[in-house]
Amino acid sequence: MEDGTPCPLDTSTPDEIIAAIQEAGVVGLGGAAFPTHVKLKVPEGKFVDTLIINGAECEPFLTTDHRVMLEQSDDIFVGIRYLLKVSGAEKVIIAVEANKADAAEHLRATFPGDLNGSVELLRVKYPQGAEKMLFAALLGREVPSGGLPLDIHALCCNVATTAEIGRLLPLGRGIQERVITVTGPAVKRKGNYRIPIGTPLRFLLEHVGVEEDVNRVFLGGPMMGGAASSLDISITKGTSGVTAFTDSAAERTHSPVYPCIRCGYCVDACPIFLDPSLLGRLAANQEFSVMAERHNLMDCFECGSCSFVCPSHIPLVQQFRAAKAAVRKAAAGKTGAT
């Protein structure tokens, strides 16, 4: 493999580092695939005081962050140095869920003495790995509704993304592979694999072995992952996992839908304290603008917890996604007319 132009940590300016990250093609490897260089540009007048490295797995079933923390800690710390230099943050917090104490221990043991920061253990509760949840848990700060993490002087970066920055920039290479959890009841050799980007999904599944009756394959985890329509698609930078179910393991989602019985499970489950029950009733009546203007629909980050707990099996988050799309479309129509 031929190396490109290295971007040395000590002699590069923040702008050069950002350019190198863009050049390397690094995006958020937690699953959102948001371009990292865009997130790192701190606008005039804003500042960052804390950098959070997100090692709290974004989904149940997925364990990529866990393996990366155990096996690539050196890369992670180099990546942190780049990110601190770019963002101007004073300290770094590595967030790890409490059920991955071995990873936290390993990171604490290898934590460089000259870095200002700590490794913090967090409660295991989906969606702990969502950055909004991390800011509240670690800093006691909430991203304002409709705002950005920069508004609360924080920056969050996934551990795998950080490790890739630390691995690629000193060599001047571009991103060519990523760690993927391949799991689910239909997978024979479950585990984490380092997969070249662009690998066909079919090739990957052949390699790990899947049951004959596999009928649902998700790119990502079971809570937020999108369903693959065909096995002949490729692994992308945003594919944090592949979860495969068989016919028998999927029966649960075929249950009948009952009316809302106001049990309040969804109200307890919503991590940002929306009222999914009420939003669900509004969505059924297509009152999308009321949902957005009076009941904070647009703050929903679609974690799916409401649909997961609903004993009436009402497709709540599915309706909210459709409602958000309708609201955005209406807003785009308005600006287009003026």
């Binding site: 304002p144 079971p222 703050d299 009436s312």
Partner: protein, 341 residues
């Protein structure tokens, strides 16, 4: 490995569910009510059995027929009407004429539930709607209580049970005042041990507090009941009646007596906690429970009736939508009112 042409199923996330479902929750409530039901039959014999059966059958049949008449698939399979039927039967005096039981059962489901739109849409607890109508229509029959544990209870019936419709029921069985009526009208107290175990007179299912609590604990353990509701009702009754008792123990009953007598335990555990009629937020549940507890004590102490749990819960049901609106939690990332001003 599946063939290249294999069709995959496409759905939107989430792709897994917690496993809770309406019918399993409702079925577990029925299970939790079974010990209380069995004790009611044991205590009141044939009269208890017939009252409970008629209540159950009239409610379930009404729901089934309404579904048929409106061209919808029957909903009796979700078990919710079974709960209504059981709870309604358990709140009735065991000697109530069976035709009145049937009329009330039809009212429970037709007026209390179907009229509002069925499961999930009923503002008030259907069982209590039926009972409240009966209380207004037949005040004497609804407050005539037979003694439990009589020798011939499994072989003979009180004559009132089989009274023909629209005739005056005659009661030949041994009647007995409820502990609350004894206190209200003659200041007699009943031993707490008898109240807790159920060896007193009263409605079919309200006498044994211990079995009611056991059923409630089962539901709480399975996360199928919001514990805040019974706890705050009982706490509110205990605190308010305790304060009154301290002021004047001869006029105001002791708080322990207040908790274990009448329909309080059954109402707090199984009727006020009905998910459909109770608030969804924790703070709403505390306030809802406190309101029910306070109104219960007020009616029992200063009202004309010895018992007020039913009206307290119906009032609580009416306030629930407001509690849900007033005490909506602050959404993440939105400023509090104080911070915004």
């Amino acid at each position: 490995m599946p063939a290249p042409g294999k069709t995959l199923e496409i759905r939107t996330s989430p792709h897994i569910l917690s496993g809770y479902s309406v019918d399993s929750i409702m079925f577990n409530v029925v299970l939790a009510l079974l010990p209380v039901t069995a004790f009611a039959i044991f205590a009141f014999g044939l009269a208890g059995l017939l009252t409970l059966s008629m209540a159950l059958v009239s409610c379930v049949l009404t729901e089934h027929l309404i579904c048929r008449a409106t061209g919808k698939p029957t909903t009796i399979g979700d078990w919710s009407v079974t709960i209504t039927g059981l709870l309604y039967g358990l709140t009735l005096p065991p000697s109530l004429p069976l035709w009145m039981v049937a009329v009330g059962g039809v009212i429970c489901v037709a007026m209390g539930k179907a009229l509002f739109g069925g499961l999930g849409y009923n503002t008030f607890n259907p069982a209590l709607v039926g009972r409240a109508v009966l209380q207004a229509a037949f005040p004497v029959a609804m407050t005539t209580w037979i003694a439990g544990f009589t020798a011939g209870r499994f072989t003979s019936l009180p004559s009132s049970t089989l009274t023909l419709p629209f005739t005056e029921p005659t009661v030949d069985a041994v009647t007995s005042a409820t502990p609350l009526a004894l206190w209200k009208f003659s200041r007699e107290t009943t031993a707490v041990a008898d109240l807790a175990t159920g060896f007193t007179s009263g409605s079919a299912g309200e006498t044994s507090s211990i079995l009611i609590i056991l059923g409630g604990l089962y539901l709480i353990a399975r996360n199928m009941m919001n514990w805040r509701i019974p706890v705050s009702i009982i706490a509110a009754v205990f605190v308010l009646s305790g304060a009154l008792h301290l002021v004047d123990p001869t006029r105001y009953a002791s708080p322990v007596f207040m908790i274990f007598s009448g329909g309080l335990m059954l109402g707090a555990m199984f009727m006020a906690s009905d998910m459909v009629g109770s608030p969804m937020t924790s703070i709403g549940c505390y306030l809802y429970g406190a309101l029910i507890g306070v109104v219960t004590v007020v009616i029992r102490t200063w009202g004309g009736l010895p018992e007020g749990v039913m009206y307290a819960i119906l009032l609580g049901n009416a306030v629930t939508p407001h509690l849900d609106r007033w005490f909506r939690p602050r959404v993440y990332g939105t400023a509090t009112k104080e911070a915004a001003s």
